[in-house]
Symmetry: D2
Subunit: 215 residues, 4 copies
């Protein structure tokens, strides 16, 4: 596959290139705040850059008419309206968390939720590196929103932990624990790769990452 990266020099951009190269794909387009380089027309463009770059991403996709995989965080309703408009002409896959494991975890939580009633206690814990300021993490909030009640949350800030999320379901007889831990940035780039490979076969339209995972 010939692909492009918006935010090529950033940490996610570099990690994406590393994994995509290993998978045999060819980088033909790269863009940063003040530079742009194209050797061939890309078949898909990947953007995990910042919200600030989003207007430029929209323009690039409009011009090139190329499928888009986008993991930029902080997009708002206006931004989604723009993605919807792009999706009329090309396939767009969007998620705030492209980790395959976190998306499987979401499916599992929804499944457990069917079995457990109010007599089960549910709590969520997350651990991230000491520099992460927001508590609880956006992912913990997303997981909590899958459940039909207010959930007690615990946030540890320890060392250089890349990201751990745990959901406990307990009755008076037993406890069921679902836990996800990212080893590295590759947790997220693998989801981007899977999406980029899938997008080539998709019709124009807006797709969430779980839709891709679930085929």
């Amino acid at each position: 596959m010939k692909y492009g990266i918006i935010g090529y020099s950033g940490r996610m951009g570099q990690a994406i290139e590393k994994l995509f190269s290993k998978a045999g794909h060819k980088l033909v387009y790269q863009k940063d705040e003040n530079s742009e380089k194209e050797t061939e027309k890309p078949e898909v463009i990947i953007d995990f850059s910042l919200k600030e770059a989003f207007p430029k991403t929209v323009r690039v996709i409009e011009e090139k008419k190329v499928p888009l995989v986008i993991g930029t965080t902080g997009l708002d309703e206006d931004d989604f309206a723009k993605l919807d408009k792009l999706a009329e002409e090309v396939p767009v896959i969007q998620s705030f968390n492209f980790s395959i494991g976190i998306n499987i975890l979401s499916e599992l939580i929804k499944k457990v939720n069917q079995y457990v009633d109010q007599d089960w206690d549910i709590e969520i814990s997350e651990t991230h590196h000491r520099f992460k300021k927001d508590k609880p993490s956006g992912t913990a909030i997303m997981l909590g929103n899958l459940l039909d009640r207010d959930i007690e949350m615990h946030s540890k800030r320890l060392g250089s932990e890349f990201g751990e999320h745990e959901v406990d379901f307990a009755s008076t007889g037993e406890v069921l624990t679902l836990k996800h831990r990212a080893y590295s940035r590759e947790a997220f780039t693998r989801g981007a790769l899977l999406s980029a490979e899938a997008i080539l076969d998709l019709k124009p339209g807006f797709y969430s990452f779980p839709e891709i995972l679930n085929n």
Copy 2:
């Protein structure tokens, strides 16, 4: 509900009575190896006793025509044939593990199995008290059989641990862990209670515990 217990004096029999009483149900029939006592006709009979007692259980159900919840371990094909015959006349709910959590865990493992390919490592660990001789536990084997490949198993024997099972799914970017721990015998009696309450509305037939859980 008016209920009876076969194996009333055993540890599971005692634990069943304790939970069922707390739930407002009335013990009207109790049976042990050398004793039997009936004050009223039971609406359901619970048997978590030993394989050796199984022929007598069959006779009791044949005579009384009462629904049966049975958690006796070690039943073989002949025994299941007898249960099938009973099930022509009364509803029968059978499982080797009536823990709600272990049965939810089984459903989750089947779900994860749909998402992960050969590039994910899977291993199963279980911990039980020091007196448990068999390794790995029957439940670990049952969980492993839900997956499409041979699974490496680890068995710890520690103190008086009541029973912990863990399944790890790992790619090079992340690890997803599903873990279940029983706090006490109540993990199993709660499944029996749920089954006994459900059986009153069932037609004759043979039912597995997951069928009850899934409604």
Copy 3:
């Protein structure tokens, strides 16, 4: 050993009798709020009852001049003054937590504290059953007080968890976790047994449980 129990009918009293009997010791004295029974003179008296019963315990020890192992929680300064006075005539072993493991954990925390500087993050988590109201647990506070700084604490309330305490020490390269879990009330009665067996060789005086553990 011939021993007595104050608070014989309570859950801790019953658990103490069970373990002490198994170890071959003989119950010769038992006392509850409204009853008292003595068949022989005890060599040691164990009290894990309530603060309200403490004045009576003092009178019993004054009269009988028998060594005392006391795990009653909530004792205040006045109470300790009375224990000190008893300790002039008999050996007294006192602790708010007679679990051997928690006391080993305390020693380990003090040891780690020698190695880690301010560049290590430290957090404490504890999990107890849903009915435990106070957060964090008294034991978590006691563990936190062993460290030279304010410690972030997390309290989960899940199912019927008997009691789990975890201390995490993390630098940017690694994380060291010390965790203790009680399987049952026996975690505490074993410390009482060890103390009762040790007290027979002690001179009058006030002893903490760690002193006994450390010989």
Copy 4:
């Protein structure tokens, strides 16, 4: 501090330079299999390269008379004899595992070992990435050797786990778990940094890493 690295281009060499630079130290000497570069005389040389390079390391230290911090694995008795000889003229700090946490863990295991008798079960588990062939890990063996008995070991090989070691101590009432996890290569480079900073004040002699940690 002015320092040198043997095995500069390797992954550990690069990780060492990164951390030492961040700490304000100055790289003045670097050596690889076929290259060598010196801008100033180093005050200490760090070697985390391969056993094959060891003879050259010995020659470099003999010539320069510079303190040595060495974490090369697989050194044998002959190699240690050579280190002893170097240690007559310069301070040498050697360890097979420069992780601070693993060395603290070793101290803790020795401490717990004083408290627990044969009635406690002890098992060791370790988890490493899927490419690690040897089971159990060298570090797990080292930890097991600190205990006075044969220890059951469990080895998981999962994803890209950097290295996790766990020791469980359990009686019938409770379980105490000591666990260490490396987040990254920095777990080891931090120990090298601490050693390099300490070595400037040491007299000639052979030192183990725990001696440095314990001052």
